[in-house]
């Protein structure tokens, strides 16, 4: 069992937990992910790593309720435990292996969207700890859904917060901020964008036009997360890659986002049905016109 040391609600439907996981805490790097499982019957849920404390042996995860399993996770409190916690999985961010002096010459722009702010944080923090200050754009739907602002402020070079509805910070999508920054005369050698698939797609369309190489972190459907099942396969350029062992970070300009977004919908009706079952008990037997009811 993997004990939850602390649990905190960051925003509506977004939660943060510090979990005791000695091996993962000792070896994880920015860019990697973990897989958690609440109980015997739960799903294996892949989650990006938000932070880690090697001394305390804890890994910090942040997640958003998107279905029945994450709903169940949200019910866990400090002192409770996950039945399973595996990781780190996937490859570390490329810059971890780069020459620090060369890296210092680079101007890096991070673009974080929604709950994607969580996996961006350890990357910016790592760079900060190595004497590199990166610019960070954080986008949220509205003020209430903005997470980790102070934490990010402490490690980012310039932090630009934007909300879709203008309720806080700048007004508009992250892509607008990128355009504004570039128009203001900023230049970037690299962009790292993590957030909803649709956001990453539009960031990539823009940065391609602006000629800024862009890395994205993909979060497709996964089962084992160790290269065994192939559920997480993606088309990257002419190749088929497995996000769990080849990624999760890829060259965003090569990703087939249309296909990736379709694949992400694969179990949507099943997940919706499970969610309704969880919320309403076993009362959902069709009639919503969408799912055909419980078979």
């Amino acid at each position: 069992m993997y004990k939850i040391r602390g649990a905190e609600k960051l925003a509506d439907n977004i939660f943060l937990m510090d979990v005791e996981a000695q091996r993962a805490a000792r070896s994880c790097q920015p860019g990697q992910f973990v897989i958690v499982k609440t109980d015997e019957k739960g799903e294996r849920i892949p989650l990006t790593i938000c932070d880690y404390d090697r001394e305390a042996g804890t890994v910090t995860i942040v997640f958003q309720i998107v279905g029945a399993s994450t709903q169940k996770m949200a019910g866990l409190k400090a002192g409770d435990a996950f039945r399973d916690f595996t990781g780190p999985l996937g490859k570390a961010s490329e810059f971890v292996h780069e020459d620090i002096e060369k890296l210092k010459q680079k101007k890096i722009l991070f673009v974080a969207g929604g709950v994607g702010t969580a996996p961006v944080y350890p990357q910016v923090k790592w760079l900060h700890e190595h004497g590199i200050n990166a610019d960070v754009i954080v986008g949220a739907k509205n003020k209430d859904l903005l997470i980790l602002e102070q934490e990010m402020e402490a490690v980012a070079g310039n932090l630009y917060v934007t909300t879709d509805d203008g309720s806080y910070g700048r007004h508009g999508m992250v892509t607008k901020v990128i355009e504004d920054l570039v128009n203001e005369g900023n230049t970037y050698d690299e962009c790292i964008a993590i957030g909803p698939m649709i956001m990453m797609k539009f960031v990539c369309l823009l940065t391609k036009k602006l000629n800024i190489p862009t890395i994205v972190s993909m979060n497709p459907i996964m089962v084992d997360g160790t290269g065994m099942c192939g559920a997480c396969r993606l088309s990257v350029g002419d190749e088929v890659k497995f996000a769990c062992v080849d990624g999760p970070e890829f060259d965003g300009h090569l990703i087939d986002f249309g296909q990736a977004m379709k694949r992400q919908q694969m179990y949507k009706t099943d997940e919706g049905r499970a969610m309704l079952k969880l919320q309403e008990g076993d009362t959902h037997h069709g009639g919503c016109g969408q799912c055909g009811g419980d078979k």
Partner: protein, 462 residues
């Protein structure tokens, strides 16, 4: 007494009934049937069957005990050679191994060695017979990576020799392919697999789940920081292969590994488990091995009309004869000498059909099997909503990429000495699918066993 030329038939669940459930198909022998089958054994002095067994079970000796009704003694004989008899009795391709060498098979049917092994193992479980423990402990630590057939066998053998053994398993349950790959109806998870794993634990083996070697820690760290004196790699096969045909990334296309893992490890077929699975209406499984049969029979049980699509003929099907027979009985349609060329996709990105061509067998290829060649103009479509690719796997790079001095061949399989499992790195041994590429449970067990004795020799001389 005239010996019967035919095997004592084994009771099975009726094909129509079992096609709708996940209960075990084969019901096994009872005591009476087992004794009567055992009586067919000639107890050959120069028993050829033993050489046909990758773990060299003394087959005539255990059958002789069964004949006399000494089932506990029979279990002890098998236990000397195999840590997983209840598994092997169910999933070994006996017709190509022990039973293929049986003298009785020349004029009639060979002795049903597999079913007898299964009977003995099940009897020992039902009668709570514990494995025999090591007489003395050795003060050496061995790490075993992977808790599948190779790892469990290697760990069990080393523990019986007195070594302090820890297994590291990447998934959340021990058992490897026995839990994620082989379905419940062929290998019950709780009664058979969990029990065999328990027996290995009773020998003193520790199992740490959720540890991905190469990520959570590395082999070099196990040796230098955690004090392991030797390491066995039994990490299994790996990344599923796809055909590279159009439409393969469509929704509704799965690897057999994914489909089976969802069903078996994650128990998606049970309502109270959270992991979803696509219950297709019409499912095509591409491939002809045991994994393809398992996937097809699983899809059938989930309610689908199911097809096997295989490019060679029935004689070349790599699956066990019994699995093919069971699949047919249950109503799976075989499209043999058929090769898919495209997966047809609807406007929303979901599978709507499979485009195939008919094949005929030409000259033998390098594997000795006749190479299938396309019959021109034979293109046709099968209407399906789900396609499951069961084409084998290629090795997982997680361990080889993170272990210094561990050599791999050009297929990225770990290079290991067949006789003792030794790799290019001192103190590191390997066996099973990680070395050979996808093969069988019993071959992996044989390799685990050879490596255990290799490790024992290495640690005894150090």
């Amino acid at each position: 007494m005239a010996r019967r030329m035919e095997k004592v038939p084994v009771r099975e669940q009726d094909a129509k009934v079992r096609a709708t459930n996940f209960e075990e198909v084969c019901l096994g022998y009872n005591e009476e049937e087992a004794v009567s089958e055992a009586e067919r054994c000639l107890n050959c002095k120069n028993a050829k069957c033993i050489a046909g067994c990758p773990v060299l079970i003394d087959i005539p000796a255990f059958i002789a005990e069964v004949k006399d009704g000494h089932f506990e003694k029979a279990a002890a004989v098998i236990g000397e050679s195999s840590a997983l008899p209840a598994v092997c009795g169910r999933v070994c391709p006996q017709e190509r191994q022990c039973e293929s060498r049986c003298v009785m098979g020349i004029k009639g049917e060979p002795v049903s060695i597999g079913k007898l092994e299964r009977f003995v193992a099940d009897w020992a479980r039902d009668n709570h017979i514990d494995p025999i423990l090591a007489k003395e402990k050795k003060n050496k630590k061995v790490a075993v990576i992977g808790s599948g057939p190779a790892g469990l066998t290697c760990a069990g053998d080393l523990a019986k020799m007195g070594y302090n053994v820890t297994i590291f398993e990447a998934l959340h349950e021990p058992g490897g392919v026995l839990v994620y790959g082989i379905p419940e109806f062929r290998l019950p998870k709780k009664d058979v697999v969990a029990h065999e794993v328990e027996n290995v634990k009773k020998l003193g083996v520790k199992i740490e789940t959720n540890v991905v070697i190469g990520k959570s820690t590395t082999i070099d760290e196990l040796i230098t920081e955690e004090g392991f004196d030797a390491v066995f790699i039994g990490s299994g096969a790996g990344l599923p292969k796809f055909m590279g045909i159009p439409g393969e990334q469509a929704n509704g296309v799965f690897s057999a590994n994914e489909f089976l893992t969802r069903n078996n490890l994650m128990k998606a077929f049970l309502d109270d488990y959270d992991t979803p699975i696509q219950r297709g209406k019409k499912v095509a499984v591409i491939g002809g091995g045991n994994v393809a049969m398992d996937a097809a029979r699983t899809a059938l049980r989930l309610g689908a009309e199911t097809y096997i699509v295989y490019r060679r003929s029935e004689a070349e099907l790599p699956a066990r004869v019994e699995e093919v027979h069971h699949a047919k009985e249950e109503g799976i349609n075989f499209h043999l000498l058929t090769n898919p060329t495209e997966i047809l996709v609807d406007d929303n990105g979901w599978v709507r059909g499979l485009k195939c061509v008919k094949m005929e067998l030409g000259e033998p290829d390098e594997s000795g099997r006749r190479r299938p060649v396309v019959i021109p103009g034979s293109e046709y479509e099968i209407e399906v909503d789900t396609v499951i690719m069961s084409l084998g796997t290629s090795p997982n790079p997680l361990i080889s990429a993170t272990t210094k001095g561990l050599d791999v061949n050009r297929w990225q399989c770990i290079i290991a000495d067949e006789a003792n499992g030794a790799t290019s790195k001192e103190g590191v041994y390997a066996g099973g699918d990680a070395v050979t590429g996808a093969a069988t449970v019993i071959l992996a067990m044989g390799a685990g066993k050879a490596a255990a004795s290799g490790i024992d020799k290495y640690l005894s001389s150090n």
